[in-house]
């Protein structure tokens, strides 16, 4: 069994799976059971400043997108930060941390953009023995209207400023949680780094309306006939999160900045993918909310088994392994030529590849009267759409052509050398190869 012990910013946890700051981490009762179940760490539900706590709506907080068998694919919420008194949360955190010294316990914080507010709360958090703090600059609903959450995360200057205050008044690791509701994720990450952040975590939830009730014309989730955009999460957001993580991991200004990956982690495979793109830990929320804490058994066993298969002995060996392979479009090898190939033995003759290719643009699949579907190499641009729509997993594959072969579509010989757009003759900005 591969060792899943994780060291992130000097914070140790028995495995890289942390529960994200969210409803499952809002109280001692939950967090204790999560730790008993085997979770490596917990980011406590976001604390606000002292005083009367926020209030939540008293109607539906969540909306969902389903597959046909009501498999939950995406979840949206309009819940705010913790609505329990600060003191209660701090006392509970201290008790839990004392009882589970081997687990990571991070305090998520969101207070107004004034140094005094941060200076007031940070010593109290430090007293709990929490391993670090996560600055919630991501929450896209409710709190953002009050100048907090994503309202801060969308202004890099504010991120840098607040991060700096935290580093000044707190001596343990500071993680900045980023909102994806922004055009270029590299800017807030860079700001966090400039402010002294030890790490960033992303993504927080995405602005969303899950559906509209066509009888009442009310967005869902609906409160007394009205709806408000909420934060979208769950399996559906994973591709967005992976891309944003990779951008930070490979950008010159932020390369090497530790990342805690968040966004639709549902199985061990999702976690391995996030880690390969540079995440030292992953945070899980929707999967735990959907299936309960017990999924940690599959998450840990699966990751460990895959690492054993591949010969990895430590999670640090997989962190960032895919980052060098993320590049810009202009650097992709234009001399790489592939053709779709249909395995006739596996084909079930549904014709989806034909419909997709015919109606999309290439007309590169032929259909015989007895439903034999074949690739027309003269037309195939290897776009992969046939693979994507084929219901049989390995029926259609993209087979690279060998150097020296002639591509029947272009009539050109496949060149062995790598060549990209920057030097392509059709590119008016092309530089001559040196």
């Amino acid at each position: 069994m591969a060792d899943l012990t994780t060291d992130f910013l000097g914070i140790s946890s028995p495995n890289p799976y942390w529960l994200a700051s969210a409803p499952p981490t809002d109280k001692e009762y939950n967090v204790r059971r999560a730790f008993e179940a085997g979770w490596g760490g917990v980011v406590w539900k976001t604390l606000g400043e002292d005083g009367p706590p926020v209030v939540n709506v008293n109607g539906p907080r969540y909306g969902a997108i389903y597959g046909a068998d009501r498999r939950l694919l995406g979840l949206n919420n309009i819940e705010l930060i913790t609505d329990r008194p600060l003191e209660v949360n701090l006392e509970e955190m201290a008790r839990v941390k004392a009882d589970y010294p081997d687990r990571a316990l991070i305090a998520s914080l969101m207070v107004p953009c004034e140094e005094g507010a941060w200076k007031a709360i940070l010593p109290r958090v430090a007293e709990t023995g929490a391993d670090g703090i996560e600055l919630n600059f991501g929450c896209p609903h409710g709190m953002s209207e009050r100048g907090m959450g994503s309202a801060v995360g969308q202004v890099p200057e504010y991120i840098e400023m607040v991060t700096r205050w935290c580093k000044k008044h707190y001596d343990r690791p500071v993680i900045v949680k980023l909102t994806p509701n922004i055009t270029d994720i590299r800017k807030p990450a860079e700001a966090a780094k400039n402010g002294g952040a030890d790490a960033v975590s992303l993504i927080n939830t995405i602005n969303s309306i899950t559906s509209v009730n066509l009888d009442t014309f009310s967005p869902e989730p609906s409160i007394d006939g009205k709806g408000s955009h909420g934060g979208y999460c769950g399996p559906a957001v994973k591709p967005i999160a992976l891309s944003m993580v990779s951008e930070i991991a490979r950008a010159e200004a932020t390369h090497g900045l530790p990342i805690s990956g968040i966004g639709g982690v549902t199985t061990w495979r999702d976690a391995a993918e996030f880690m390969s793109l540079g995440c030292g830990t992953v945070q899980v929320c929707t999967a735990a909310m959907t299936y309960g804490f017990k999924i940690i058994d599959e998450l840990t066993a699966g990751l460990s088994e895959w690492m054993d298969e591949k010969g990895y002995t430590s999670v640090s060996q997989i962190v960032g392994r895919a980052v060098p392979n993320v590049t810009d479009w202009q650097y992709l090898n234009l001399n790489y030529v592939a053709k779709a190939k249909i395995d006739q033995d596996q084909c079930i003759k549904c014709g989806r590849c034909y419909a997709a290719c015919e109606d999309t643009s290439h007309q590169a699949i032929s259909m015989s009267p007895d439903r034999v579907f074949e690739v027309v190499d003269e037309e195939c641009v290897a776009c992969n759409l046939c693979v994507d729509v084929c219901p049989v997993e390995s029926c259609i594959s993209m087979v690279p052509m060998e150097a020296g072969e002639v591509d029947p579509r272009t009539g050109k010989v496949v060149e062995p050398e790598y060549a990209n757009w920057t030097t392509h003759p059709n590119n008016p900005m092309a530089k001559a190869a040196e």
């Binding site: 046909a68 068998d69 079930i348 549904c350």
Partner: protein, 444 residues
């Protein structure tokens, strides 16, 4: 008190009323909405889908399933009913395992096709439950067409003609319309008097009158119909039953399987319906399976299907054969009846083993005797009472194109017409297509 399976002879009340009720419930219970959503999600929306090609009525199956996926069973139902007005019955009785579901690509992929039949029932039930007939009649044409026989072909033809603006009079010899939907077909496939409910729903289109007790060759004649109507559609089915030419075939206890099935369908109380302790069904088609399974469900102790050729040659699909076997029916193949023994009533049947060489069936001389207080003959039906003057083809009414007979202004379809399988769904297609041809002829 139930008689029990072992009571000798042909007696009623072998099982308690509760057992009978349980035995004759729906073979395939309807899908609940969520089940339908999950089942519909399995459809790949194939290009030029093989299931549509396999459907005699060319229902756009991927479209109706997608409409179920999209939460509109009413639209799905309309897609079905536009092609097949008896889509509700066909959803229950079609041998989908040899039609659409056999062609389904998921059958090839996983041996588990999309449940097209049950999804079709889900959609058509939804339409019928709404109580609204989804089609309207075109402007009146002033033409009136006679349809002879209110079975699936006749009803489909009449409905399409009515939709096109014609008036229709259906002449039916039996007391109730529906044909084999009402008098044939396994009771466990069409429960809750569905056949009559479907006819009532179909007639809501308007413009269709049904005259029961109207018998061709007795109360009405083809010449008279041709003279009094603008066109005639014959859908008279196969009223004759092939004879069993075996010594002792005239003994008590030997009867036609179709009559037995009709008795079951029409029974007001199944507890009063007699069935043998040892039943032998002669034949290998769907009628044989239906009769055998019904005998078993009524409480017969031993039920055997005796078929003269091998299993692959049976008219009943493998699915139907397995259905019979799962109810405890024994299937004997390569045996033919040579005698029915008994003193006045059947007590035993003597079967001779057969072998087939070059398609010719011969007895081997080896025989076996089975106890048989009831023998049900399911060896095929034949055309009976076809009017003179019609050209026949292989003992059925010869037709060209969309059911045109050799006589001017007379069309035919369903089991009585040559060509096509003798299935409800085929009859519907033929009735519908003949209606379109009649319409094209009358308005040209």
């Amino acid at each position: 008190m139930a008689q029990g399976q072992m009571a000798p002879g042909i007696v009623s009340g072998r099982l308690s009323s509760d057992e009978l009720t349980s035995n004759f419930t729906d073979l395939h219970p309807p899908l609940a909405p969520h089940e339908a959503a999950v089942a519909a999600d399995r459809c790949y929306f194939c290009y030029d889908a093989p299931c549509v090609t396999a459907c005699p009525t060319d229902i756009d199956i991927p479209l109706f399933i997608r409409q179920i996926q999209a939460g509109q069973p009413q639209s799905a139902g309309r897609t079905i009913l536009e092609q097949n007005i008896l889509g509700g019955m066909c959803a229950r009785v079609c041998p989908t395992e040899t039609l659409c579901e056999e062609a389904c690509v998921r059958e090839a992929a996983e041996g588990k096709p999309v449940e097209i039949g049950r999804l079709q029932r889900f959609a058509t039930d939804d339409v019928m439950a709404s109580g609204v007939h989804p089609f309207e009649r075109a402007a009146p044409t002033g033409k009136t067409i006679a349809v002879v026989g209110a079975g699936p072909a006749g009803l489909a033809c009449a409905h399409r003609l009515a939709m096109l603006g014609h008036d229709v009079v259906i002449h039916e010899s039996k007391p109730k319309p529906g044909g084999l939907n009402e008098y044939g077909i396994a009771a466990y496939k069409s429960t809750n008097d569905f056949a009559q409910a479907e006819v009532d729903w179909l007639l809501k289109i308007g413009g269709i009158a049904i005259e029961t007790g109207s018998v061709l060759g007795e109360t009405i004649s083809l010449d008279g119909l041709v003279e009094n109507y603008d066109a005639v559609f014959l859908s008279i089915g196969l009223a004759g039953v092939n004879a069993l030419r075996t010594p002792g075939a005239d003994k008590d206890g030997v009867r036609n399987a179709v009559d037995f099935i009709s008795d079951v369908r029409q029974a007001s109380d199944l507890a009063h319906l007699p069935v043998g302790r040892n039943v032998v069904v002669i034949g290998g088609g769907m009628t044989a399976v239906d009769a055998a399974v019904k005998s078993k469900l009524l409480g017969a102790e031993h039920v055997t299907i005796a078929y003269r050729r091998d299993r692959d040659a049976m008219g009943a699909s493998r699915y139907e054969q397995d259905l019979a076997a799962s109810h405890g029916v024994r299937i004997m193949t390569n045996v033919q009846p040579v005698a029915v023994h008994g003193n006045g009533s059947s007590a035993e049947i003597e079967l001779e083993y057969t072998s087939s060489t070059g398609g010719t069936l011969t007895g081997t001389g080896e025989t076996i005797r089975l106890p048989a207080d009831q023998v049900l003959k399911a060896i095929g039906q034949q055309l009976d009472g076809a009017p003179d003057g019609l050209t026949l083809e292989g003992n059925k009414i010869a037709v060209t194109g969309a059911g045109r007979t050799s006589l001017q202004s007379v069309w035919a379809g369903g089991d009585c017409a040559a060509g096509g399988d003798d299935l409800t769904v085929t009859a519907v297609a033929e009735g519908r297509d003949a209606a379109m041809d009649i319409h094209a002829t009358l308005v040209s």
